[in-house]
Amino acid sequence: MSHLFELKLTEVVQALSNKEISSRELTQAYLDRIDKLEPELNVFITLDPDNALAQANFADIKRQEDPEETFLLGVPIAIKDVLAVKGLRATAGSKILESFIPPYDATVVERLRKAGMVIIGKTNTDEFAMGSSTENSAYGVTHNPWDTSRVPGGSSGGSAAAVAAQMTPIALGTDTGGSVRQPASFCGVTGLKPTYGRVSRYGLIAYGSSLDSVGVLGQDVEDVALIYNLINGRDTRDATSSQNPKDEINLNGNRTLQNVRVGVPDEYFRKGLQSEVETAVRDAIQTLETLGAEIHIIQLPHTQYAVPVYYLIAPAEASANLARFDGLRYGPRVDGGNLRDTYTQTRGQLFGRETKRRIMLGTYALSAGYQDAYYGKAQKVRTLIQGDFEKAFEKVDLIAAPVAPTTAFEIGAHQGDPLSMYLEDIYTLPANLAGVPGIAFPVGFDSRRLPIGMQLIGAHFKEQILMSVAHSYQSATDWHTKKPIL
């Protein structure tokens, strides 16, 4: 090993516990790496170097005092800027929160802190997590570490790029319609979107409340599992938090895939899919078969409706969730003279283009005279999409599919044509609409040497099999070990 930042999470944990390195040295190594790459990549919205080093020093002292301390003590982590970290600015990628300092920790952050993890900064995101490219951030676009003229995906593009560029060993993201899985795919890292309700949403700045889930991005499944094991589990402060017992992923089991039934949905391999993506994903499915899995062709007939259903339901929920940003309790205020004009001018001037577009779309879908035809209809078709998955999971244990129709696209490619951008989300939206878990990981490169991802989708609360199978794949291949040249 030539540089500390080249360690992956499990190696970091090992080196810290063997006292080969200190948390201070490690944290400093990442901060130096960030210093070097940040001007080119624009990954972080807010960095917290002094506090991070203080947390690292504290962790080193704690480890001296009690060598049996938790194994994640002193390990750095980056957090998507839609999650509240007490005392550290949270913008959600928006100007309307440019000065917001959360007075409390999100539940997931509380759990990271309890384990002694070091929070190094807040990563870039599309405004309020609305987007698939980080181009909708008020703090500038993040550049893909594999090709800086391209987007990193989104909305957790900052977290995905941070892991790919080794500016952090691990990061938290959120996934409402693919926002962990798609950037993971574009940046060649591993990203988990857990089952809806598995991880608390308390302290997450809400976008689409029936869809939002907090996920993890890391270099491989092993790394992601360590943090998922830490953050999942019931939280009484989130009314939709699952009553299921806390999940504990174990990846030490048998790596052959005997008796694992993998479904390949016809609908995910139709027109619009880049041929190199199709080839890489089919090769990966072939690898799963070689490892012992049974491959079944399945149907998810309502897939084509996922885009309209999602882009009615998520904006509808967003239009209600974002009503709280009114210039009265937090954020800057544009003084309109009276209350009404203060509301409309604050919101009109400080929300970005895509956010306003989705608020307009959602408000329309919920407005008198149109609610039944749009929001109501979308809710019913959502039931049909869930039904597709229920039927599929009677026959197979998990589903293998592409994450996105293409590899990372060029910055500006979809500018001025929001619908074409929405259509890019076709393969990731259904899992959110059904509330099921998914994991994306690298399975190859296209001719431009841009990473290609595949996702596995499981039934509700089946994270274990999802991650076991992804781990088997990574034990047999080395795509996840490839790094961009920076």
Partner: protein
């Protein structure tokens, strides 16, 4: 389908968004195109399908009715653009 100018203005009013004429025009065009694409949903027979409104398992969850300390007043006010003593100060509601 094309949304009328009046309807777009009405939506902006409901959403409490002050939009420029240019924004109105842009959103009118874009939302019209998006909604036209979404018309595909109307072809699906959903007569006997119940809507999905949330992802909760089973019925609503209950918790013990314990007292939990919320944020202190200083914390709550710490991000406000304008305060008066221990209160948020807002612009006049009536002239």
């Amino acid at each position: 389908m094309t949304l009328t100018q009046e309807l777009v203005e009405h939506i902006a009013e409901l959403a409490r968004l002050d939009l420029s004429d240019k924004e109105m025009t842009r959103y009118r065009q874009q939302l019209s195109a998006i909604l036209e694409y979404f018309e595909a949903l109307q072809a699906i027979d959903t007569d006997n399908i119940s809507p999905t409104s949330g992802m909760q398992e089973g019925s609503s969850m209950l918790r013990p009715d314990d007292t939990i300390d919320g944020l202190g007043i200083d914390d709550v006010l710490s991000n406000a653009p304008d305060i008066h003593g221990r209160q948020f100060r807002v612009p006049p509601i009536f002239n």
